[in-house]
Symmetry: D2
Subunit: 148 residues, 4 copies
């Protein structure tokens, strides 16, 4: 199951070409993760996020993103699809698809995040609760066009 | 040959963890590209950049980045290594290595850029001058730890 | 009448102190203006915004902002108050109050914007429709603590 | 005496109008303060900054900025003038003038910063060393065109 997370594009995310800047796109994806994992927004009814900033932090270990079409300035939040493609011992692979304004695909991306103990700064294992919740959003890894 | 491009980290690039934010890291890499390709800074003596914003634009088609260690706040510009790993008909693959403050590696990354005609918005072939200049900075593709 | 406009604070708006950065605060205020003036969000029932990006642009001529208390990271959009304190021939003065997470005041600010013809880049007079709509949100100018 | 501090405008500081965004301008001013107060860059020969991030923090209490002309994209760092217009017990008023690319004035601004003890988070008095150094850059308060 893929989640659909509405994200607000800011005027300041546009660059001088009038498109969402390549780095700003990763800020949007970060906002998707924050909304779901930290705030528990946009989860199916009855589910809630379990991360607590006093106890845990997430570090980004790896990102890959393919920009397929420019993303112009939307007048409303855009619906970004998000899902999990892999759960490791202390890490998760998050995939996304960002739409264009006319229903095409602006970008596809994948982020590897590592769960960290907020006090020690060391990686820590996913809890059973996290694993149970996140397993509900498992889906196939995003496919990039380029052949690596 | 790899170029070494000093880049200024801004106070605002830090996140609440006190490290350069994952998306801000791509802004730093963009500044590396801009300095070299558009401004012709940090090129070997006698070389100059040939891109003209009235004629050309560069679009980012793909990026991959691996974060190996947090990058704290430096008191001076940090020396980012940059090189070209592939030249296509209308595209180039740019690789980078970003150091930590104590000489380790904070991040490795690769960006595929596409040359675009500023008027038509269509991809255009690299010119002979561009190809000649950029060939001087060819080196092996950056190696990521993860096995994809 | 003051409008109340919910604004999403991004994780990346925080600085290394864990507070919304001083410049990021102005980005939030820009998002408030955009939501109201350009998108027509959060207007009273029956009202709609009349600005059209093909015809008009707004330039920021002046800003003053007082930071009264740090703004931490909210788990939901924060309700920013916005109102108009003056309508000139081609300009408007917009005032704001940004709350803290516990109901105090994080910042008060005032922005002077100038309406510009998007084609000529020259200031243009407010239309009767704009003047009628914006007059509904007139209120007393924001008061700053410092005595200038 | 006014200091002149070269500041790098980033490609990402531009908005879709092709000008430095109004909030990004405050980021540039923050970089000016950081360079001088924290890093001790661009000081007269023999002078050094005395602020230590382990001991002190600076909070921004108030800012006023007037945008006089759009700032386009420069190919080199721009020379921002910076000086002190007032030293209080625990605070300082910093003034700036930001040039346009053709030698005009893009913006004038003034920031009130408060010195804070990094451990307690409480304001602390300027030290004699700080007062002695900063007094060397005292000059008349920046004049804004508007009459408040």
């Amino acid at each position: 199951m893929k989640l659909v997370v509405p994200v607000t594009v800011r005027w300041g995310d546009l660059d001088a070409y009038g498109h969402v800047n390549n780095a700003a796109m990763l800020v949007l994806l970060e906002e998707v993760r924050v909304a779901v994992f930290w705030h528990g927004h946009h989860l199916p009814a009855g589910e809630s996020a379990t991360l607590d900033r006093d106890e845990s932090a997430t570090f980004v270990a790896h990102q890959e993103i393919e920009y397929l079409a420019p993303l112009g300035y939307p007048r409303a939040p855009i619906p970004v699809s998000m899902w999990i493609s892999r759960l490791g011992g202390a890490s998760a692979e998050v995939c996304y698809e960002v739409p264009t304004l006319d229903g095409g695909v602006a970008a596809r991306a994948r982020t590897t995040i590592v769960m960290v103990n907020a006090t020690t700064g060391r990686p820590r294992r996913l809890t059973d609760d996290e694993r149970a919740l996140w397993s509900r959003f498992m889906d196939e890894p995003v496919q990039f066009r380029r052949g690596n």
